[in-house]
């Protein structure tokens, strides 16, 4: 205790002499402050979400009304259709899910939640966002080179992606690949920073088991990302050389092996889906404990299941390739590992649900989003099983059943959990509350029409409708009027879904100036970020906190209050 006191003293002293006013540029553009960088990631991510959403609008309209001119876009040619789905997928995963969930909230919250004033390497952090920004520019540039943007699907299987004569997008393919690689580099840089910060910069007294789940999940996600992305980077280098230098790594006619790319891609691609899942799970954990006023059910159990899932996810990748021409005997092994993943994930979800048991639940906006996440993600999870079992995937592969499955996982993660986090930490970030009525409109609109959008796609999938088709007229069985009716229904829901984003955008920006002021700890939560003023000043805390207990001590018997902040020395 005494030694922490001295730490306090030195740190408080060290503290003062890096407060000083900065110019606009150094404050908002080239800032090294983790909060500013986090917000930069968030705004870039939301803008990209709008772009990805716009692509989705354009190609869904084309599917509902083939050949008609799409308002705001025009007639969609097959080339454009492929380009839009490809970039829709790439953007939503690499430029929305990862930056918002991991980079934005990671950068903003990790230092606050572990009770220090910044990342361990602020300049490294700035480098990361700059590389990320460049990657966006490269991606946008790829739409305007002649031949147009890359249209070979976000999986970019060679030889289509490696030979310009086949893809007909010579530079589009290369720029797309370059952009993705840059984005990966940005995250590797940022990841190193996250890990080091969490390991070393924790507040005095904060044990590993006092670290909030969100910080854990983000760091585990980063480690998984590092472990899975390496081979893909190697593969990307090879693919790039195939495109530009004429090597033949993936070209069968010259002894290359196209299926190898698929292994490299999915060895990354499957862990990647959990890389984005875990931070979302972390967000939800923080929220449900806060609003149920309950200690998280089985902190350790949740950690173990997350680690178990992470480990398992490295040996399931070929479930994307059951019928891709791999040795059929391999499929059996991967079926086993894939279906078994349901066990740890089920445990995770059960722990979350058990957390509600005996609680005193207040349904504020963040809580509503968190619950919506659990429900919708469950749908996505269970529909993964018929895909995971080879015997049915040999039919479902590349049908809209897959599309529906992963939108029922990705949408809850990248959009619903993202909104949950936004509504939860908005008061901290901007010192004001968002308008609740608008929030409710946004919530119900989004959740209802999200289901209206993707439920029908399960049916289309079961009817054998396959993916990445700009117009089903060439497949008479799929061109029937009632299937077309289902498509129109889905698209209508999408349009409504997008309209219901308007109240959010308005709410989001106007509340920054007119929302009611929020005090430091509006939700009466335990974790350290709520010990800082809202919005936290440069340097975060008035006095750097010392940690005395775990993050989820709610409704502890013998306390007057039903929450017990981590930094509070004595009973509350």
């Amino acid at each position: 205790m005494s030694q922490t006191a001295t730490v306090q003293h030195q740190e408080a002293h060290a503290h003062d002499d890096h407060h000083h006013d900065q110019s606009f540029l150094s404050k908002y553009i080239f800032s090294v402050d983790h909060k500013v960088i986090g917000l930069q990631y968030m705004f870039l991510g939301l803008l990209m979400a709008a772009l990805g959403g716009f692509f989705a609008y354009a190609f869904r309209m084309q599917l509902a009304f083939p050949g008609e001119a799409v308002p705001g876009f025009g007639v969609v040619s097959p080339a454009e259709y492929n380009m839009m789905i490809t970039n829709h997928g790439t953007i939503m995963i690499f430029w929305v899910a990862m930056p918002v969930l991991i980079a934005a909230f990671g950068n903003y919250l990790i230092p606050l939640m572990i009770g220090c004033d910044d990342m361990a390497f602020p300049r490294l952090n700035r480098l990361s966002i700059q590389v990320f920004f460049v990657s966006i520019l490269v991606l946008l540039l790829s739409y305007f080179v002649e031949g147009g943007g890359f249209g070979g699907a976000w999986t970019s299987y060679p030889p289509l992606s490696s030979v310009a004569e086949y893809s007909l997008t010579n530079w589009g393919s290369s720029l797309w690949l370059l952009a993705v690689t840059l984005e990966i580099v940005a995250f590797l840089i940022g990841g190193v920073n996250f890990l080091t910060t969490t390991m070393n910069s924790r507040a005095p007294g904060m044990k590993m088991t006092d670290v909030p789940i969100l910080v854990w999940t983000i760091n585990i996600a980063v480690i998984m990302f590092m472990g899975s992305v390496g081979p893909l980077v190697a593969g990307a280098v090879m693919l790039f050389m195939d495109q530009r230098l004429g090597t033949t790594f993936f070209l069968p006619s010259a002894g290359g092996d196209p299926v190898l790319w698929q292994h490299l891609f999915w060895f990354f691609g499957h862990p990647e889906v959990y890389v984005v899942l875990f931070p979302a799970m972390g967000v939800v954990a923080e929220i449900i404990t806060t609003f149920a006023r309950k200690k998280l059910f089985g902190y350790r159990a949740i950690l173990y299941t997350i680690i178990a899932t992470g480990a398992l996810s490295f040996i399931v990748w070929a479930h994307h390739q059951f019928i891709a021409g791999i040795d059929p005997r391999m499929a059996n092994i991967f079926t086993v590992t894939t279906v078994l993943i349901s066990v740890p994930i089920a445990e995770m979800l059960f722990c979350y649900i058990a957390t509600l048991y005996g609680g005193s639940i207040r349904y504020e906006l963040p809580m509503l989003w968190a619950v919506a996440f659990l429900v919708t993600f469950l749908v996505g999870g269970v529909t993964g099983i018929p895909l995971g079992s080879s015997g049915t995937d040999l039919f479902f592969h590349d049908t809209y059943f897959v599309i529906a499955h992963f939108h029922y996982t990705f949408f809850p993660i990248a959009i619903i959990a993202m909104f949950a986090a936004l509504y939860f930490w908005y008061p901290k970030m901007f010192g004001r509350h968002m308008n609740k009525t608008l929030g409710l409109i946004h919530f119900w609109g989004t959740v209802i029409f999200f289901n209206g959008l993707f439920m029908p796609l399960f049916l289309l999938g079961m009817a054998g409708q396959h993916r990445r088709i700009y117009n089903y007229q060439h497949f008479p069985d799929l061109a029937s009027a009632d299937l077309q009716g289902i498509r129109i229904f889905a698209t209508t829901s999408l349009v409504l879904l997008l309209l219901f984003q308007i109240p959010f955008v308005w709410n989001f920006f106007s509340s920054m100036f007119t929302g009611e002021k929020a005090e430091a700890n509006p939700w009466k939560a335990n974790t350290l970020e709520w010990a800082a003023p809202s919005p936290p000043p440069h340097g975060n805390f008035k006095e750097l906190p010392v940690v005395y207990r775990g993050p989820y001590e709610y409704s502890v018997p013998g306390n007057r209050e039903d929450f017990w902040p981590q930094h509070m020395p004595d009973r509350n």
């Binding site: 890096h18 190193v192 070393n200 910069s201 390496g230 280098v237 050389m241 002894g255």
Partner: protein
Amino acid sequence: MSMQGPIATGRCATGIPSARLAVWWLLASEVFIFGGLIAVFLLYKFNGAPGMEDASLTVTWAGALNTFVLLTSSLTIVLAHDAAEHGDGHKAFKFTWITIAGGLIFMCVKAFEYYSKISHGVGFTTNIFWSFYFTMTGLHALHVMGGMIIMGLVSFDVRKGRNLQRTELVGLYWHFVDIVWIFLFPMLYIANF
């Protein structure tokens, strides 16, 4: 930021300096990149991709020489680190530059190899093996050059007795570059089956 920097940078909950941790994590992610490349190469080799037998055409003695050079330079950087530990900036400076010289020799031999290959019309696209050869050694060479530059930058501070610990960090990185080569050498130069 003031010279002081944020407190986060100074903290050390694990007892391992943040800088060293960061370098370790960086190398970890590098390991997976080279690991992936190497794994892919072996896959092709065992599936008998065309041209793999060309491994016999690589200049084995040059590779061996380079292995020797790199190992020695690894030793000298250790000596530099040791000197830095004892606060002897000048000695550390000297050994760092000997290491850089080692890197330079390595690059010259590489350049000679590349030249002799390309002048015989063997290049990137000759066949899968040569594609791998140039990709892997090229990527590695880039890392060598990067290391040399960083060591150069660090060394001058070190001579003035500032940031001595950085000698250790570049040392870690240099060992990694070295180890990668230890893997590449037998695969590309010796194992020609």
